[in-house]
């Protein structure tokens, strides 16, 4: 039996970055907000204190902070001719769980997207013509511009205290920053992190080749910082246990270190943890959400009515809930119609391993987001005409960790075990270096999310099915980016260099990033998007959907800065437009 609770003004599904931001903004506007979170409350002292946060086996190898696949997973296949099978253990991406969401265990690489990324189809067709794009590529414009989003990027970065060097302030190119970035209204809140040896050598080599290297923008802070909410973040100690881990040192920007201590004091905010939303409820018209149904740890089912429903779960689970709740038309790849599940996209990373005889890199002196990068080969920063592909990525020496189970590397010809392996590991650990490319992934007609016909979750609901493979455009891009990266690394003077461009089929067991995108994208018209430019559902106007779920395709950067900026953009639209006149914010 479902028990009905007193109504709230707002119910938020998921208390990660976007849920925390919206809860803070909307409680600030005087609304009563209830956030419902599937996982446990998490905080530094209880979940990743410095006494045992630095545990590679527990957190990196055994996935301690992530969602348990038994609680919810999805099925996967490379193409529609295969039978999808369940992802039984995480590999390629790591769905978060618990308060703080992915903000607990992200690298904290805090990039803005390029202005052209937001008007991608228009931009590429204008420059190269319609025929340059693969016929089945379904990239589209976002319905907003970089300039629309800039104040909200700024707000998120000043919440986080992001450490970096601006490359463009109000149109003026700044030495030492990224000259390709869109114009910023002001400098980063804190200066860049210090750079270890590898990134420093990489930057020297890149500079000599005529590139413009700059420090990666980091949410692991170079110095102590008190944000506008009055919450103080400590300086990063470069301990090298960052991504996959919670920061034991309060120096990585997360909901815990930036918002929650302020939010929790507000009398009009309440969080319910270990409660999983099973459905968004609609009224008889199907045009209005009445709230959500959730299940607690005793198996009791509750209905939380609310005037406004904000879907703030991880990208994949937002789409899963929309499909289960019957909101929006499910995507049909044969007809190319429908919007829920459409335009799933991911990431295409690659690496170059270099082995030196005369250098000590101390790879363990690291943070999830230090490093020196170049952006010459991202987005449309270079002429794609001669190359026969679109898209790109940043590349650089990004020294995230020296954790040995994961990173002890040997030259390719070395046996994988035995005396020779042992000797090679001992020789290579301090003196080898891995540089990386972080390539985007565009969207395609045959890449999508829908419900699986066979496998179910613990509630008996169908699992979501992911159909995805790399396309030729992205594999060409990866080869090109890796070749450019290798040229820079070669200039660092290694004895031996190995290129690892992305090749073959997408493999769900091989970790790349947790940057899964799309499935309920924002856009200019309801035929090709689930959400309007304010992340408001076209079908159910009192429902807003946050996160990378809204990305029509994935540019060549990490998503969180844009996810945070979009949350502030949507919050602004809700407070200043929707509350004054509840209803569709874009008329069609």
């Amino acid at each position: 039996m479902t028990r009905k609770l007193p109504a709230a003004d707002v119910v938020i599904v998921g208390l990660g970055w976007t849920g925390s931001i919206l809860a803070h903004e909307l409680t600030g506007a005087g609304l009563n907000v209830v956030a419902i979170e599937r996982g446990p409350w998490r905080d530094t002292a209880t979940d990743f204190p410095p006494a045992y946060a630095q545990d590679e086996l527990r957190y990196r190898i055994r996935h301690d902070l992530f969602l348990r696949p038994e609680q919810l997973t999805m099925t996967f296949r490379n193409n529609a001719n295969q039978t999808a099978l369940p992802i039984r253990s995480w590999g390629s991406f790591m769905p978060p769980n618990g308060v703080g969401g992915g903000g607990v265990h992200w690298n904290a690489e805090t990039w803005r997207f390029l202005p052209s990324d937001f008007e991608l189809r228009t931009h590429l067709v204008r420059r190269y013509g319609e025929k340059f794009l693969p016929e089945d590529m379904t990239i589209q414009d976002w319905g907003i511009t970089y300039d629309d989003l800039e104040p909200h990027y700024d707000k998120f970065e000043y919440l986080c205290g992001t450490s970096g060097k601006a490359g463009n302030i109000k149109g003026q190119i700044q030495a030492g920053g990224n000259p390709f970035e869109g114009a910023r209204s002001r400098e980063y809140p804190t200066p860049p992190q210090k750079q270890p040896y590898g990134p420093t050598l990489f930057a020297q080599a890149a500079q000599e080749m005529g590139y413009k290297p700059f420090p990666q923008p980091s949410g692991n802070l170079s110095q102590a910082y008190t944000n506008p909410l009055g919450v103080t973040i400590g300086p990063c100690t470069y301990c090298g246990f960052c991504e996959w881990f919670g920061c034991g040192n309060y120096s990585k920007a997360s909901p815990q270190t930036t918002i929650l201590p302020a939010l929790i004091r507000r009398p009009n905010f309440e969080a319910r943890t270990q409660c999983e939303v099973s459905k968004i409820n609609l009224d008889k018209s199907g045009k209005r959400a009445t709230g959500v149904t959730y299940v607690d740890t005793s198996g009791n089912e509750w209905e939380q009515p609310a005037d406004l429903v904000l879907l703030c779960a991880f990208q994949l689970f937002n789409v899963h809930l929309l499909l289960h709740s019957g909101i929006g038309k499910p995507y049909d790849p044969r007809a190319g119609e429908g919007v829920i599940g459409r335009n799933y996209s991911y990431q295409v990373t690659s690496s170059v391993d270099a082995f030196f005889d005369d250098k000590i890199f101390n790879p363990f002196i690291a943070s999830g987001s230090i490093g020196m990068c170049i952006d010459e080969f991202n987005g449309d920063n270079f002429d794609h005409g001669p190359h026969g592909f679109v898209g790109g990525g940043y590349m650089g020496a990004v020294q995230t960790n020296g954790r040995p189970i994961q990173t002890a590397r040997t030259p390719q010809a070395t046996p994988r075990w035995g005396a020779e392996w042992k000797k090679a590991v001992a020789k290579s650990y301090l003196s080898s270096y891995e540089a990386v490319t972080h390539g985007g992934c565009y969207s395609y007609r045959d890449v999508y999310l829908d419900l699986d016909p066979t496998y179910t979750d613990r509630f008996g609901r169908k699992l979501m099915r992911l159909t995805f493979d790399f396309h030729e455009n992205e594999l060409k891009m990866s080869t090109y980016l890796t070749d450019r990266l290798a040229e820079v690394v070669q200039k660092m003077g290694p004895r031996q260099l190995e290129k690892h461009p992305r090749r073959g089929h997408y493999d769900v067991t091989v970790y790349q990033t947790t940057h899964t995108c799309g499935g309920a994208i924002m856009g200019v018209e309801p035929k090709t998007s689930a959400l309007n430019r304010y992340l408001q559902s076209w079908d159910v106007p009192n429902l807003f959907v946050m996160g990378a779920t809204a990305f029509p395709q994935n540019p060549g950067y990490n998503p969180t800065d844009t996810v945070g900026a979009l949350a502030y953009w949507a919050a602004d639209a809700i407070v200043n437009r929707y509350l004054k006149s509840p209803g569709p914010l874009v008329q069609i």
């Binding site: 002292a45 045992y52 042992k422």
Partner: protein
């Protein structure tokens, strides 16, 4: 109604007493877990109720202040050498011999056996890792493509048991009744190499899959924090120059191309 129990909280490896949990179902210590319940019954159940034994895993309403209680964390439980917890003595002898060929001793650094890799694997298999806790283990089970990942219905502990029995059978047939642990080192390496290349076939299981599984777990045992029973005296970390769970490198970030001078530390402190 069938009651199904799963642990939703990130429980932490080592939180449970080793060996307390090896079936993959139910929660140790829970008065409502039914050790006799079989997976098949779970699979056909339609009405599911969630029950939790861990105090940290209850639904919670948080309002007004951060929910904080002293000592509410879950530090790992230290593994101590001693009798096998999961392996039989014969299995233990085989694993010791296997890890000592994957990582052989040399004058500078002990091999896998003396580094504690076999003890590490034993305790891992006896705990939540061995029982596939938290993984999606519901059917139907089908062989997929390599890109779809492991689809075995067996837990890691069961996979080891099956593969070690098959390896024992293979070695006794090929080496005049001798188990793996008793054949000469160069023959051991030939067997391992054959497993790696798929040239040595094991009965009822994939030798190549077992090799990959064993190699991964052996490396984990060599390089994981010593609190889990491997990397004894931090021999793996000392071999490569990894300082372990050190907290603060701010003074060292910009000291380029210099060897970091301090010895490693682990979660439980320094080796004595």
């Amino acid at each position: 109604m069938v009651v199904k129990e799963i642990r939703l909280s990130a429980s932490g490896i080592g939180k449970m007493a080793p060996g307390a949990h090896s079936t993959g179902e139910g929660i140790p210590g829970s008065s409502r877990s039914d050790p006799g319940m079989r997976r098949r019954e779970l699979l056909i159940s339609t009405a599911l109720t969630l029950v939790f034994s861990a105090t940290s895993a209850r639904a919670l309403v948080v309002k007004g202040s951060l929910p904080w209680a002293p000592s509410a964390g879950t530090p790992p439980t230290a593994v101590h050498p001693g009798p096998w917890v999961y392996f039989t003595p014969e299995e233990g002898a085989a694993i010791e011999a296997l890890v000592d060929r994957l990582i052989p001793p040399d004058p500078q650094t002990p091999g896998g056996k003396d580094a504690g890799c076999a003890v590490f694997i034993d305790r891992q298999l006896a705990g939540s890792y061995g029982s596939a806790e938290g993984l999606y283990m519901h059917g139907p089970f089908a062989d997929g493509t390599p890109e779809q990942g492991n689809q075995s219905p067996l837990t890691p502990a069961a996979r080891y048991r099956q593969a070690l029995a098959a390896l024992d059978k293979y070695c006794r047939a090929a080496y005049a009744g001798k188990p793996f642990a008793q054949i000469p080192d160069d023959e051991k390496d030939k067997v391992l190499s054959g497993l790696e290349k798929g040239e040595v076939q094991l009965e009822g299981t994939s030798g190549r899959t077992f090799f990959e599984h064993l190699l991964q777990n052996t490396r984990e045992g060599f390089f994981a924090d010593p609190v889990y029973g491997g990397n004894r005296d931090m021999v793996g970390w000392k071999m490569i120059g990894f300082p372990g769970a050190r907290y603060d490198y701010r003074d060292w970030v910009e000291r380029h191309n210099e060897r970091y001078p301090l010895p490693p530390v682990g979660i439980a402190g320094r080796p004595e």
